[in-house]
Chain length 321, copies 2
């Protein structure tokens, strides 16, 4: 039960598997708690050896919760459960439905600048880049993908300037020099902080970098425990850039994976990773934590653009501001 409660803040659908004979106050309390933040389905298993309890069925019904009685042994009603899962799942609003649909229109040419460095996976693109290309196609627009070195050449091949340029945060300095001010420019990280997180909260948190003082503590918050490289973005590059930009004597700590709200209290700023390994709900729960303890929060992409002096330009394309 402890492990169940630990994951409530990150799930989008809970399936409570029980039987009519064992269903009791424990299950009822759990369902009430789950209901507050997620969809719930109750599965009464073992209907080949257990008897239907109409009273318990009614209790569930009154709560407006879907339920099904089935048997894993005989396979009875398993197909019905599948249908119920699909039906419930298709109504769950997991992520925002479009990444850049509100920023572009049909026929627009969107330029994506994708550096191929040692960190890039062999023979692939990273998922956020693929998702943006797909979203451009879904919006009846044209995706032009280049490395930063070919960007100027690629723009020269177009009859009109692109409607939008999106680049990796790590090359924003070079790209912002190559792309005329009249062309809207942003980064993949900033696009995804709308999708996974709270854009305005992050923008406000980013501006707090200017208010950091000597001796302040910054928490680098990573979603997963990945294998850190020698020039790790969270552990090495971002602390270096923020120290250089602010000129302040700051202390940086890193937390990877789960953490406790009370551990956040000693920090003056939280910088979260892009959260590629966690879902929107878990990211929002992290932002809630920082809000609870009143600590500004931003993410890698915005912090990088800020320290490179291009922050106002890369958030300009967004109507949220």
């Amino acid at each position: 039960m402890a492990r169940t409660k630990e994951v409530i803040h990150k799930i989008n659908l809970a399936i409570v598997v029980t039987t009519f004979s064992t269903f009791d106050k424990l299950e009822l309390d759990l369902i009430d708690e789950l209901k507050k933040s997620t969809d719930v389905i109750v599965v009464f298993n073992k209907n080949d050896i257990d008897v239907i309890d109409k009273e318990k069925e009614n209790t569930i019904k009154q709560k407006g919760i879907s339920f099904i009685s089935l048997s894993c042994t005989t396979g009875n009603n398993i197909e019905e459960l599948r249908k119920l899962l699909v039906q419930t799942g298709s109504k769950i609003h997991v992520e925002n439905s479009t990444i850049i649909g509100d920023l572009i229109k049909q026929g627009d040419v969107v330029m994506l600048v994708v550096p191929i460095d040692l960190g890039a996976p062999k023979g692939r693109l990273i998922l956020p880049q693929v998702q943006v290309i797909r979203d451009i196609l879904d919006n009846d627009a044209v995706a032009v993908t280049v490395k930063e070195r070919e960007l100027v050449h690629a723009m020269a091949e177009l009859k009109k300037p692109p409607a939008l340029v999106i680049c990796d945060s790590q090359v924003i300095l070079k790209v912002s020099g190559d792309v005329p001010d009249s062309i809207p420019l942003t980064t993949f990280s900033i696009l995804f902080s709308r999708l996974k997180g709270d854009f305005k909260e992050f923008v406000n948190g980013t501006r707090h970098i200017d208010k950091l003082k000597d001796g302040d503590r910054v928490l680098i918050m990573e979603a997963c425990t990945h294998h850190a490289q020698s020039d790790d973005i969270g552990r090495v590059k971002i602390p270096r850039w923020i120290r250089q930009y602010t000129g302040k004597n700051l202390e940086f700590d890193t937390v990877a994976g789960p953490y406790m709200d009370k551990d956040l209290l000693k920090y003056n700023l939280i910088i979260s990773c892009g959260a590629c390994m966690i879902n929107r709900k878990e990211m929002l729960s992290r932002i809630d934590s920082s809000r609870t303890v009143s600590i500004p929060i931003t993410n890698y992409g915005m912090a990088i653009s800020f320290t490179q002096g291009v922050f106002e330009r890369v958030v300009k394309p967004f109507k949220e501001l």
Copy 2:
């Protein structure tokens, strides 16, 4: 041991885990068989409770095989095994190193036409499309990705015609109409039949479609047992297109997953899927099977282009012919 022998034709590296005390003729014979077609590493486990046998070490050494003595219990030498794996693995030539590197040059604009139909994965692109975009970037060129509906518009946005257009086989008829004959055009399937398979063998096999006679049998060979859709490409569309094109009364069978060489004998043509789930080595072994029994072999992409009357155009960009 039977299951080990079953996979020899598709693996690129064999790790034989044994101990000094148990290593005997069985292991030696296996190593000799593995050596014929793959790299081999021998791991002597349990070095915390087993003693090193210099004689057995020498036998392995004389065969030119790498080996290591370690303990999974204490963790001794595990890191060394990792290094040995990386070192051996980096020398294995698994797939051709470039997809279109020989077809384009630095700065070229390559147009990719990607239909977004019901079969497309939600919010993504399929892997071959991503791999081609990456290969374009690796060759210092520019990748323009569009749906088939925006293709004409996208070409009009360019100052010069693209150096190459690559489209999904299923839209080749529309795309070949939209792209002037002066612009080289091919399909993703045909590109990948160079990477995963024997291009010339497939081209020859494709032309055999013209020689099919009434009563001939065609084998549709799928690499995996995927969940077939109602308008399944292998089971429904390709048989229909080939019947329409040839006007012959043909019989089609489908085999999904492993098969026996002798089962191929009754067929006049084999049409293989794109093999996205198997590696080059396994695909080449399938082509060898068809060669052994002297049956022409082609793949989905080439067969589709052939039945749509655009085959000679889509193989023209390749110097192999």
